[in-house]
Symmetry: C2
């Protein structure tokens, strides 16, 4: 079956894609998010993401037949688009010509009291969010805990995550403080990372059993309200403390959380 | 003293800045690199970078008086520029209006046989290069070893590095294989990281004394020629192996290299 060709920017579907790509508000209001790229869209389909619309160029159909087949098998609707529309929709310099509108995932509400979780307290940078989720998945972390303000469907974060934000269990919460108190009540260790060198070193911290470790914003770190209720841990540094970026610090923390189990 | 105001894009200094910002070739030919941002330029001045030209807007002079003072004290030449020229020169969305042309650093030629070094085998992504250098500096690594093709003066890498590429000792080499053989001859441990799960685990690797650890390209990893001459190490993963990005893997390796000494 040949899909219809869309050519105009004023088409309602194109307008919806662009709106959802551009703002968190449009994503929330429509319950949809926007993905770009043959590999990322195919990975989304492969892990059960509900694809409500797929748009692709004829060139993409030639170049990525297998990936497109995976995507189209899961897509409720599909249309061909012109190269000009592909350029218009794309956020990348060399668009591959494959785009999907997907339904937001059901996030988890339950936390496994024996699992290891990373909680992100307002990590704003989408590249960092994506990088952290990749590392978390690679290391076999039980899941991410994010606050409602954290935009896991930001297209940049999704691209940097290479699908891990679609596969990792994600718990969203309006009240991180209450959720952490609940974890503590269930017997989990709850830590917050800080550059404060007087805090306990990660190398001397007990990460056995169920653990939640909170990492904060680049720049401001974990906010006081949360920091005060948690045991503080720090990555001991020999060099210039300010030189740690949020994703690097999170990588090392994630590694320390699972280090004893992988070795 | 009030600096002269430059207003035109055809001014030779503006043309030089743009050329040096844009291509590695222009940087090499002029022995210069381009920095943007009040903090980054002030950090460059503070660590002894030779600043041949500073350009700033009147707005920047009001907003960043202290940083500008640090920069201007070290700048051989300085000019004011219009907001339009600042937009024209900037690679960022909200330019701060502070720009410097700096002389490339003298790179190191000596390797301390008791030091810990990270060698980058064709890490192309400038954001990764910057992130890795930040982590290396934070953890007190002795230095970075880069191949000649690695563009440490790429403006994106410099921004992501937040000055660490200007402060860290950097050894540049045309022949990484020969340099690694030389390190081995001096009694250093030389490792190459690989996703190959049959390699020795980083947790079971001897990082005491002098160490060089080679990390490779995102995607291709360390090239065979080098891999074959090195002891291989791997970060054991419980999850999806392909989900590790180069900067995250380097962060964990750097951490393991110094872990015994910081704890």
């Amino acid at each position: 079956m040949e899909h219809l060709l869309l050519t105009g920017r004023t088409n309602e579907r194109i307008k919806l894609c662009l709106a959802v790509r551009k703002t968190a508000k449009a994503r929330r209001e429509n319950g949809l998010f926007f993905l770009e790229g043959a590999r990322l869209c195919a990975d989304a389909a492969a892990c059960g993401t509900v694809i409500s619309l797929c748009l692709y160029t004829d060139r993409a159909a030639e170049k990525y037949p297998d990936r497109l087949e995976t995507i189209l098998a899961c897509a409720a609707q599909a249309f061909r688009i012109t190269p000009a529309l592909s350029e218009y929709l794309s956020e990348t310099q060399s668009p591959q010509g494959v785009f999907c509108l997907c339904e937001m995932r059901q996030t988890q509400t339950q936390i496994d009291p024996h699992g290891k979780y990373l909680a992100l307290s307002f990590v704003q940078n989408p590249d960092n969010l994506g990088a952290v989720s990749r590392t978390a998945e690679a290391l076999g972390i039980a899941g991410l805990i994010v606050e409602n303000g954290c935009d896991i469907y930001n297209p940049k974060a999704q691209r940097a995550a290479m699908g891990s934000l679609l596969r990792l269990p994600i718990v969203q919460t309006q009240d991180l403080c209450a959720l952490l108190a609940d974890c503590r009540a269930k017997g989990m260790h709850v830590y917050a990372s800080t550059p404060d060198s007087t805090a306990a070193k990660v190398t001397e911290t007990d990460f056995s059993g169920g653990v939640v470790c909170v990492v904060g914003n680049e720049g401001n770190g974990v906010r006081d309200e949360i920091l005060q209720s948690c045991d503080k841990v720090t990555i001991p540094m020999a060099g210039r403390a300010e030189s740690f970026n949020a994703a690097a610090a999170a990588s090392i923390l994630l590694w320390e959380m699972v280090r004893g189990e992988t070795s």
